[in-house]
């Protein structure tokens, strides 16, 4: 799935890219939607050479620069080389990889969902759960422990091993 630019809004998931994202403005865009049958430019770290250069429509100065590019590159000045780079590419790699603040939204959303889930769970405990079985009661649990000791459950390393049968108390 081609990543068509940074659509920062959390709730927008449409494939169609609006014009003001800057992606199609340098090409022959007349409609609101990107023509997916033409080569597309993309700033992607894993695609160093996109299908088409950033600037397709060259004015006179750009065209003359492109002519000069056909000669020996040692004749180009530093500014001209940078201009040629910017004709071909939109962002540099550091610009592409610039950090965003998205993680704050992600973590914040996570905590919000945790909180909401906590409320849901609390409400469930009040209104959804059936009454507790009698086996949960204090008396029942005490009688259960006594019966387990009487039966010598795990007398070597486990449950009954921790009970002192002479002194009738936990070791």
């Amino acid at each position: 799935m081609l990543h068509l630019g940074h659509v920062r809004c959390m709730f927008s998931r449409r494939v169609v890219v609006p014009l003001n994202s800057g992606l199609g403005t340098a090409s022959h865009e007349v409609s609101d939607q990107l023509d997916m049958s033409q080569p597309i430019y993309s700033d992607r770290p894993d695609t160093p050479l996109p299908d088409r250069p950033w600037k397709d429509v060259l004015d006179a100065t750009d065209k003359s620069l492109k002519q000069k590019e056909k000669g020996p590159w040692s004749a180009l000045s530093k500014e001209e080389k940078i201009a040629l780079y910017r004709l071909k590419f939109n962002h540099t790699y550091p610009e592409m990889k610039r950090p965003s603040q998205e993680w704050k939204t992600v973590i914040g959303g996570m905590f919000f969902v945790f909180g909401f889930t906590g409320l849901v769970v609390f409400w469930q405990g009040l209104y959804v759960y059936p009454p507790q079985p009698p086996t949960f009661g204090e008396d029942w649990q005490a009688k259960q422990v006594q019966r387990m000791l009487d039966m010598r459950i795990n007398p070597i390393e486990g449950f009954s091993a921790k009970w002192d049968y002479e002194k009738k108390q936990w070791k």
């Binding site: 040692s74 009487d150 010598r152 070597i156 091993a161």
Partner: protein, 81 residues
Amino acid sequence: MSYSKMSLAKPVMRGLLGKRLRFHLPIAFALSLMAAAAFKFGVTEPRKRAYADFYKNYDATKEFNNMREAGIFESVRPTGK
């Protein structure tokens, strides 16, 4: 600016797996042996000792009678019932 001949050293192309194995296999064996030894001396030996100690002075009849008096059996009720 003219570009003189600049080149990097040719990267290592062969023997990569062998190098990795020569480094990692002794470590893997050592760690595995240590884990096995730790389990043997931390778990199995104490457990064998615990069982031996338990059964050294174990009186099965006495235990049975204690359990019977506690009333957990259905085939024999406590004495006096």
